[in-house]
Amino acid sequence: MNAEYQLPEDECFVLNLGPQHPSTHGVARIKLTLDGEYICKAEPVLGYIHRMHEKMAENRTWPQFFPNTGRLDYLHALAYNQNYACLVERALAIEVPERAEYIRVITTELNRIASHMVWYGAFVLDLGGFTPLLYTFDDREQILDLLESVTGSRLTFSYFRFGGVPNDIDDDFIAGTKTFISRMRERIKMYHALITKNVILINRLKDIGFIPAEMCRKYGASGPVARGAGIDYDVRRNEPYSIYDRFEFEIPVYHEADSMARYMVRMDEILQSLRIIEQAIATLPAGPIMADKVPKLIRPPKGDYYHAVETARGRLGMRAVSDGSAIPWRLKLRTPCFSNMLIFGEACRGMLLADAVALFGSLDLVIPDVDK
């Protein structure tokens, strides 16, 4: 569409994409102003699944907020668990045992792959291909079975604790993870042959849905969205937390800034996560899984604390203000999907509806994470 030509507002028509729409993956609503099938204006409308997580944090004790963290971004729940655990550990100055750190890394990375698998299936479903969804869920099932055997839950794991992890991993888990790593590498090859190289998919993703680096900076986008635009930023490497500085892994960065770049970033990230898991399993130390000096009643000293991790969708920051009591005074969540979603309004201007759906899918949004 000619960028300068703009239909007057009253000649466009308004289409509500959502809150009940197959491709919004939940209850996102986007108010589209359309000229034919071209988008003149897009306005994400938030808040359909707002659950007041920040306010809930101010009404319960520090450990009681744990189950909530897994419900923000249910697809990568362990990263949220990890961030909250690390945040409070930083506040209490607890040293986490080595083994617990390794277990955290292994499970979080497994969860990251599971999260990318859901995105992958759902993304291709947005593009109209149904079958890959079932294949990716098959892979995800393997991960969930592994994680279920350790954490006891399949989605909202709520697994980490302040000072470590409650359950140790066993040999079955390690053997299962090793089998999964080799299986996953084969499957990634299969996915590339089945989907990435498919000419229909390439035509739908290549050079479509630009999110340049300036736009990412303007909206604070992070994760694969920023890395697909050439911003070489990953919290795991730029501000190493836990034990990520011990592992050798690359941060995939693509400079095309189109939907295909974001797609490829995630595909490469899966392989890098496999590498991290492999190294972590090879060097897994023995020892306790829980720190000794965890107080029974969690009362972080008065102060202001911040911790950030890299989730499957970008940078998650949690800032806690403690007044020294057993209840947080304030807990601010900086969720990656919130920033990533707001980009959509600007990025999809002038696009066709079908391409906008592809762009929306390539952002990999989890709506409860947007609305908190």
Partner: protein
């Protein structure tokens, strides 16, 4: 012109390669579990709703009515009462209600219990018509258990 023909051939080949992959999957065994006919294996650590641990020493539960589970529950779905029986030093449990409708299956109560009286049940097939069906009376459940 050559690039044009090449792009057509590469595109067509990518489609054929995709078809070959899905065709191969047709002849591979199914991976699904035929749910109502075959039941998946529930791992030992599965976190269902809570239940009392059967204590063979007392032929009953181990609860000492300390109320830790009630205090630690983020959703406030546990309510328990104890009463002092005549001649006994400590309280005995008289009511232990779990309101499963608000439970988020986090397992904090099980970790908080000082005597290890609580455990996770392996029940996952929970469906009903009424909210009241999910107000579990754990004492009754323990007695009904074989």
């Amino acid at each position: 012109m050559a690039a044009y023909i090449k792009s057509i051939l590469v595109g067509t080949w990518s489609l054929i390669a995709g078809l070959a992959i899905t065709l191969r999957f047709v002849f591979k065994p199914v991976v699904t579990c035929q749910y109502p006919h075959a039941v998946p294996k529930i791992p030992d650590r599965y976190r269902g709703h809570i239940d009392f641990v059967y204590d063979p020493a007392t032929c009953s539960h181990k609860c000492i009515v300390c109320g830790m589970c009630q205090k630690t529950c983020p959703s406030g779905c546990i309510s328990l009462e104890g009463e002092k029986l005549e001649g006994a030093k400590k309280k005995t449990l008289s009511v232990y209600q779990l309101n499963f409708t608000t439970c988020s299956l986090c397992g904090l109560c099980v970790e908080a219990c000082p005597t290890g009286a609580l455990t996770f049940s392996k029940e996952y097939n929970l469906a009903g018509f009424d909210e009241k069906e999910y107000h579990f009376d754990l004492i009754k459940r323990l007695q009904e258990r074989p």
